[in-house]
């Protein structure tokens, strides 16, 4: 087992996407030089000793561009060679997802993806595939998420052809072996049994339900009944209905030759016929359900209160998105630099993990939230700090320094979005999948650079709404409901027993 158990304690945990922007960088083969000279200064200012006054020129970098081709059956292929290491990686994004799960078979998409990988193919048994892949030290994975599916092959250059044949077979001709379907169902049931074990897992899932409603595709959960009802035939049908070449975007990176690769791809995918591809549609959450505030708790015998405070928010395509992302960055999204981190953790010592997050997609209402874990006796103070900091974002402009810091951090770390061929290609795949323009990130960057303090305050007022706040606390019940009472009428969420 090469992923080892190891004990180490980190000063902080990195959370995904510093600014909460999923695509915080550019895709194209542009020179990544952003001339924010007024803020960044010039090399001439360089003073070696004092970190406060050091100035450096923005690094210049010409990231390589990927080539985009389309097979006759509609499969889109991005290719970017990178010959440093003798490896080839193929990632696929599939136009499917759990948003398609029927209400009485929640878990169907997830299980289809899982058993596509484990259930063998028309040509090989599950055991033969596992044996061969592990002997080649190749990895294949398949997983279906809410709005898309993904599959990947990671293989040594010398084994490319064999790896690709198996990979293509699993995508096109999965066998859904009965015994592997049975195993996947048992594992899913065990997952249900264990999902109330940790307060961190409970608070995440219950908060999604509190925002979207328990039946919404962004919050609904598997149940023993839904898993029990899923049959092998359901998986076969779900695969047949949703996985088609014209719904697949392939990203190929690594040590290969472009022409030879295209020939190989045509060989394994070329005769796969087109199908009808579903367009992602996520139902809106009814206005009346999410416009109101709410205070809820889950009783679990814990030493800390696990807190989530927030509400639904805009989509990624909203004109305010960039400004909201930067407002969130300053409020709590940027760890050390953020107000919540400084206030709740550094100045008050009340939490190890604290911050705010913005998660937006192009399909669905997003989530904006503040979060922390703190001992019971400081729970009320932490929620008060959340509200106070949110109000401050609304009632006064951020400082010039805060805005400059947010912009500089963005501009100067831009280069990290181009560090590998695979990061460049997967960004292109994401944008195409979501129907966003190739220069989407340039657009975002240009907007960031132009933001003013007034913009930030305007969107804070519009999109951080105290009257809509939904508060969820997982912790020790009776006392918890008392400390939450000052924020509104407190109701308990009772978890159904899972075993």
């Amino acid at each position: 087992m090469r992923r080892v158990i190891r004990e180490a304690y980190l000063v902080k945990r990195e959370r995904d996407g510093g600014c909460g922007m999923r695509r915080w960088a550019s895709v194209l083969a542009v020179v990544v030089v952003i001339a924010l000279q007024a803020m960044v200064g010039l090399a001439a200012d360089l003073a070696l000793d004092n970190p406060r006054t050091m100035r450096f020129p923005t690094v210049e970098f010409n990231p390589p561009d990927a080539e985009r081709l389309v097979l006759e059956n509609g499969m889109v292929v991005y290719l970017l060679e990178d010959h440093e290491l003798p490896l080839v990686t193929i990632n696929a994004t599939l136009r499917t997802g759990s948003w398609l799960d029927p209400a009485d078979k929640v878990g169907l998409a997830g299980m289809t993806g899982a058993v596509m990988r484990t259930g063998g193919s028309a040509r090989m048994s599950p055991e033969e595939i596992d044996e061969e892949l592990e002997q080649l030290a190749a990895t294949v994975s398949v997983g279906f998420a809410k709005e898309s599916g993904s599959a990947s092959l990671d293989v040594l250059k010398k084994d490319l052809k064999r790896g690709l044949q198996i990979f293509a077979d699993l995508l096109r001709r999965p066998a859904f072996d009965r015994s592997r379907v049975e195993l996947a169902k048992l594992q899913a049931l065990e997952g249900i049994r264990r999902r109330q074990d940790s307060p961190g897992a409970i608070v995440g899932r219950e908060f999604a339900k509190l925002l979207y409603g328990a039946e919404h595709p962004s919050a609904r959960e598997t149940s023993i009944r839904s898993i029990d009802s899923i049959t092998r035939e359901d998986l076969v049908a779900f695969h047949q209905q949703t996985v088609h070449p014209n719904g697949i975007i392939l990203g190929v990176t690594g040590d290969f030759d472009k022409l030879a690769m295209m020939a190989l791809l045509r060989e394994v995918f070329g005769d796969w016929a087109k199908g009808t591809v579903p367009e992602v549609t996520i139902p809106a959450v009814p206005e009346t359900d999410f416009k109101t505030g709410a205070v809820r708790f889950v009783n679990k015998d814990t030493s800390q209160t696990h807190l989530r405070v927030g509400h639904l928010t805009i989509k990624e395509t909203d004109p305010d998105y960039v400004a909201v992302a930067i407002a969130n960055d300053i409020l709590g999204g940027s760890s050390f630099r953020s107000r919540l981190f400084n206030d709740v953790r550094t100045k008050r010592g009340l939490a190890y993990s604290v911050g705010s997050g913005l998660r937006a997609s192009v399909y669905d209402e997003g989530v904006w939230l503040m979060r922390a874990e703190t001992k019971l006796s400081s729970t009320q103070e932490v929620v008060n700090r959340f509200v106070a900091n949110m109000e401050r974002m609304r009632n006064e402009p951020v400082t010039d320094a805060e805005l400059a810091e947010a912009k500089e951090a963005y501009v100067n770390s831009f280069v990290f979005s181009f560090t590998s061929a695979s990061s460049i290609v997967s960004r292109l795949m994401d944008l195409e999948y979501d129907g966003l323009p190739k220069d989407w990130l340039q657009q975002i960057r240009d907007k960031v650079v132009k933001l003013t303090k007034e913009d930030i305050q305007r969107v804070a007022k519009a999109h951080f709404n105290p009257e809509r706040l939904r508060i969820l606390a997982v912790g020790s019940g009776e006392a918890l409901s008392k400390v939450l009472a000052s924020f509104g009428e407190v109701k308990e969420i009772t978890l159904a027993p899972e075993s």
Binding site: Y9, V59, Q135, A137, L186, V415, T419, E478
Partner: protein, 523 residues
């Protein structure tokens, strides 16, 4: 593979095999071992560099040979608390006016230490008298004075300034971690920002200031609650590990026992820094778009000025041989799990390489013995994993197998099935095919781990610190390739026995409606 043990992956032996540079998989790329440039400063600090010019970025990993093992009784958690304090700044960073701040901090530390002492005394007295008394007037006075000083000190603070500077300059992945053996500080930067790093890091190696001490103690307590007290696996591993080690410091949680954390003082934290954070106890690995000559000049100009510290104190306590199985249960409102550990020698010992093979054969991948038997075929377990170097590598450690049963099966059934497979290791030689799979997997993973500058920097600094030289990794792959089926049988027979075993079992306990006491003084 499904992993339920969610502890940090600080390191593994994976990188080793690629650095060996003899594998057919990368015959056409130049040997990485030839690309490592080593430089030692007069004050003892070690610098390791690898040039990679794919993008104008650089990853830096600064590793100190200090961790939980270096703590004394009553001060557990000190190494980790210091790691947090290292982000509080220096005499120039993080302060508005160090001259004035210094006097307030000195007074605050004195009052805080006295207040801790008096509160403990009164708590002990209340305990012997069997009643809870209100704090005495003297303590209340100290509390007021303490709060006053703390507010005053706060006026001088520029919060998180060091991190802010890194972020402004485009730094990503700023972090630090403390383990049993080592403490590390990591950052990735646009490549031309190395002078910023050198200025900040040499400053904190020379002149750190322990500001906001008592606040950070509170933060660490919250971290303990989050990672250990509220985490079924956190509690399982803490209890399991302290059962396996009776004498050695490996048995003590790195985060520290709660009572110890709340008793740590600025004075002992400062002393800990002076003892363990000299340049002679530091290795920095720098990987990316660099010019090694310029880097050496920069580091000589900055870190080179810092005097060497005295050699760090030797560790004397050794774990006595285990004489009989130890079993421990941990009750929690969570589904069951089991951890099984066997004492074994550590890196450098010939038998350690045999354990690397055993580890892979048992749990790496879905065709591994334990996964295919327990999870796929018998369906007794939902997950199974192993770790051959738990919880550290500088002293003899444990080979650990951990599993979660698949209901309705029990931990006891899972244990029995695991032991059957361990017996098989003793009686049947592993097959040539299994061995080939192990080596192929290791070789390929090594190539993969090179995709990341930070991963490479981490591995180089790690082995330099725990094995004395990063070159350890060059030899390790050949040592593993030389392991024979007979070695596996011999080592399994010698170590994987009941009397050398510790078993920790997580037992489901129904939710307790009683409310947790909020006994801690909030500062």
């Amino acid at each position: 593979m499904i992993s339920l043990a969610r502890m940090r992956t600080v390191s593994s032996l994976i990188l080793v095999w690629y650095l060996a540079a003899t594998t057919p998989t990368q015959a056409d790329s130049p040997s990485l071992a030839d690309r490592v440039i080593e430089h030692k400063l007069a004050n003892g600090m070690t610098v390791l560099m690898v040039e990679r010019h794919q993008a104008p970025i650089v990853s830096i990993n600064m590793t100190f040979g200090v961790g939980g093992v270096n703590e004394q009784v009553g001060q557990t958690g000190l190494a980790h608390l210091y790691e947090h304090m290292a982000f509080k700044g220096t005499r120039t960073i993080g302060t508005k006016d160090y001259e004035k701040e210094q006097a307030v901090l000195a007074e605050l530390d004195k009052v805080g230490t006295e207040l801790d002492r008096r509160e403990r005394e009164e708590a002990a007295l209340a305990y012997t008298e069997g009643k809870r008394a209100a704090p005495s007037e003297a303590v209340q006075q100290l509390q007021r004075r303490f709060k006053d000083l703390q507010d005053k000190a706060g006026d001088y603070v520029v919060g998180n300034e060091m991190a802010l500077l890194y972020q402004r300059h485009g730094g990503v992945g700023l972090n630090a971690s403390t383990g049993k053996d080592i403490t590390r500080y990591v950052i990735s930067l646009p490549a031309n920002r190395l002078p910023l790093w050198a200025a900040l890091e040499s400053d904190r190696m020379a002149h750190p200031v322990l500001r906001e001490f008592y606040k950070e103690r509170g933060v660490v307590m919250e971290e303990r609650r989050l990672r250990t007290d509220d985490s079924p696996n956190g509690l399982l591993y803490e209890t399991f590990t302290s059962t396996a080690f009776l004498a050695h410091q490996y048995g003590v949680p790195t985060i520290g026992w709660g009572s110890d954390i709340l008793s740590l003082t600025p004075a002992e934290t400062e002393a800990f820094f002076k003892t363990y954070y000299g340049p002679n106890n530091a290795t920095v690995a720098i990987v990316g778009d660099i010019d090694p000559k310029a880097v050496i000049a920069l580091i000589e100009q900055t870190f080179g000025k810092i005097p060497a510290a005295p050699p760090i104190p030797a560790l004397v306590t050794e774990e006595p041989p285990q004489r009989g199985e130890r079993r421990v249960e941990i009750e929690f409102d969570a589904e069951p799990a089991v951890a099984i550990g066997y004492h074994k020698p550590t890196i450098g010992d010939p038998d350690d390489f045999v354990f690397d093979v055993i580890d892979e054969v048992l749990t790496e991948g879905v065709t591994s013995r334990l996964y295919s038997k327990l999870v796929r075929d018998k369906r007794l377990a939902a997950s199974v994993l192993s770790d051959t170097n738990y919880p550290g590598v500088r002293a003899p450690n444990l080979f650990v197998i951990a599993a979660t049963p698949l209901a309705p099966h029990t931990t006891s059934e899972v244990e029995t099935a695991i032991y059957e497979e361990l017996e098989r290791l003793k009686t049947e030689p592993i097959s040539a095919k299994e061995f080939e799979r192990v080596l192929n997997g290791l070789d390929a993973d090594l190539v993969r781990s090179l995709r990341s500058n930070s991963g490479l920097a981490s591995q180089l600094a790690f082995y330099q610190t725990v094995a004395g030289s990063w070159r350890y990794v060059v030899n390790a792959r050949d040592r593993i390739a030389a392991v024979t089926p007979a070695d596996v049988q011999r080592v399994a027979t010698q170590y994987l026995i009941k009397s050398n075993r510790t078993v920790g079992v997580l037992v489901k306990k129904a939710p307790d409606k009683k409310i947790a006491a909020a006994g801690e003084v909030a500062r």
